[in-house]
């Protein structure tokens, strides 16, 4: 334990920015380990702290510019508020559909972004919840070993090659979830919210085939005997040797989009049976039921931003991003008031925020969003 005098001396050097690297390390280590004894009611205290400090800050900043609408004096303010209440009650009484209540700030703050959650369903119907696996824990089912390493990464290994009973397993990632899994050949697949991957418990010597529903980012390893890796979705089939790519094939959407980050893939449209097309890095292929496949060069960041913790608006895809937001938070969308402007937002918003903070950011970016509570207690976002 470091002596108090020495510690204060080190801290002083640090505050003067005159410490050397080992002194800095000592200060940082001490700081990281130091904590107050009383950690009870941390959330409640933090909320009070935040509120009180905001009031103080407002006074300290004391700018002459204010946001108060100047023509509202006290008398008018009271009159105006009564009028507002009157109108909304009137609307309530006269409408014959139950009015959605506005969601409160607290309700929105409690809506957390997607957590790491996934379920593997074996052929015999048994379910394994991957988030319930502890760090460094390993479980064995038949001849399969599922283990979670010290970083929380889950991998799938065949434990006994003598007994080659190959099963079809399903990895499901529910709404408001995201998960990464390493398959038996070393391929890493990351599934986005509301997605499913059906894969064999071991790949054998031939082609490696999986079936995807929803969105997945694949980092495929080259196998020893150069076997192909094939991802099938309901509309298409993507064949690769070793490469990184993203497939978006949600059943509720009409199009399937494949975006290539590295390597080379070949895509065939199962509906039109046209000849397979080859995709180069930074290209995106869109398959739309019975229309021919279209390929364009795009900014890859927008397509795989979700694997990096971002919602990426590219100026044209506001609705598509909101569909992602809906799946990520497990909320519903209402576009009835949405007018597609010519100038849509372009930029990145982090995915790790609670819903209230996300909405503040969206509104700041001039993407006007309102949240309400529906009859069955679900949150609905309205885009204006």
């Amino acid at each position: 334990m470091i002596q108090k005098y020495q510690l204060i001396q080190l801290i002083t050097k640090f505050l003067n920015a005159k410490e050397n690297s080992s002194q800095k390390e000592e200060v940082i280590n001490w700081y990281n380990q130091h904590s107050t004894y009383d950690q009870k009611l941390l959330e409640e205290k933090a909320a009070v702290l935040q509120k009180n400090t905001k009031t103080r800050l407002v006074k300290s900043i004391n700018s002459p510019k204010t946001n108060i609408v100047k023509f509202l004096n006290i008398r008018n303010a009271v009159a105006a508020s009564i009028l507002l209440i009157g109108i909304s009650s009137l609307i309530f009484f006269l409408s014959n559909t139950a009015k959605d209540k506005l969601a409160t700030a607290n309700q929105l703050a409690s809506v957390q972004p997607a957590q790491e959650r996934a379920i593997i369903t074996l052929e015999n119907g048994k379910k394994i919840e991957l988030d319930k696996l502890k760090i460094n824990e390993t479980i064995q089912i038949d001849n399969i070993t599922i283990s979670k390493d010290e970083h929380g990464k889950v991998s799938y290994r065949q434990s006994d090659s003598k007994k080659e009973i190959i099963q079809l397993n399903t990895l499901s990632v529910p709404k408001a979830s995201i998960y990464s899994l390493m398959l038996t050949d070393g391929t890493i697949v990351t599934l986005n919210a509301g997605s499913k991957l059906i894969y064999p418990s071991s790949f054998g010597d031939g082609d490696r085939s999986v079936f995807l529903e929803g969105e997945g980012y694949f980092e495929v390893t080259k196998s020893k005997n150069n076997t192909r890796f094939i991802v099938k979705t309901s509309k298409q089939q993507v064949t690769v040797l070793g490469t990184k790519f993203n497939i978006k094939a949600y059943p509720e959407e009409t199009k399937t989009q494949t975006t290539l980050a590295e390597g080379k893939v070949s895509i065939s449209n199962l509906a039109t049976a046209e000849t397979a097309k080859i995709l180069m890095p930074n290209q995106q292929a869109t398959n739309n039921n019975f229309s021919p496949m279209s390929i364009e060069t795009i900014d890859i960041e927008n397509a795989i931003g979700w694997t990096k913790g971002q919602f990426c608006f590219d100026g044209k895809n506001t609705t598509a991003v909101f569909e992602e937001i809906a799946r990520w938070y497990d909320v519903d969308m209402d576009y009835s008031n949405y007018q597609r402007n010519t100038t849509q937002y372009k930029g990145k918003i982090p995915r790790n925020l609670s819903l209230d903070k996300l909405m503040k950011l969206l509104n700041f970016a001039e993407i006007h969003t309102k949240a309400s509570l529906t009859n069955n207690q679900r949150i609905k976002l309205q885009l204006n």
Binding site: Y31, Q39, K348
Partner: protein, 187 residues
């Protein structure tokens, strides 16, 4: 996870031009987590309030420099830590003997708090970039700028020509300048 720096950049730009609404948004986005962090390090509510208040007030006072910041969460964390360490120093100084206090280094409080906090952030970034330099380059740069050796002395010590030493130092400066592009530093 990457920061969504493009949107934070827009907010910072607005704050830098004095937009209080943007500043309030910044507060709403980060105050909750910062509050929790402060409370785990500082037991007393009033002091915690002082720290959170001073943190954001310094941000506001220094708002012209905000658009330079590459990672807003890192900046806030670094500044928060600075204030907590400063508070801790003051608290414990009170319980020290006079003799000990006299022997302590002087904290240079002529420089305003927000400038010291900003400088701390910059120096941490530069140090990190120095560690990212290629091995030889880094070794030579440190001998020059940290140990204050002349190019001739370094050349003798490492048995390399002086012109090679110069090349490495220039390479280091170029990379550091690039990494800290908009921050005000004189190397």
């Amino acid at each position: 996870m990457e920061d969504a720096n493009s949107l934070y950049k827009d907010i910072l730009l607005d704050v830098s031009s004095g937009n209080e609404k943007a500043f309030a948004l910044l507060y709403d986005l980060f105050a909750e987590d910062l509050s929790k962090h402060i409370l785990t390090k500082v037991g007393d509510m009033l002091t915690a309030e002082d720290i959170l208040h001073d943190l954001f007030l310094s941000l506001w006072k220094n708002r012209k420099k905000l658009p330079e910041i590459k990672s807003l969460p890192a900046y806030l964390y670094s500044s928060c830590r600075y204030l907590i360490l400063s508070y801790y120093r003051n608290k414990d100084k009170l319980s020290m003997s006079n003799l000990d206090i006299q022997n302590l280094d002087i904290l240079n409080e002529d420089i305003p708090l927000e400038e010291r906090m900003h400088y701390r952030y910059i120096i941490d970034i530069v140090n990190q970039e120095i560690e990212n330099l290629p091995e030889k380059c880094r070794e030579i740069f440190k001998l020059s700028r940290v140990d204050y050796l002349s190019n001739k002395e370094i050349a003798q010590r490492l048995a390399i020509s002086e012109s090679t030493i110069e090349k490495h130092i220039n390479k280091a400066i170029k990379r550091l300048r690039l990494a800290s592009k908009n921050l005000t530093i004189i190397l």
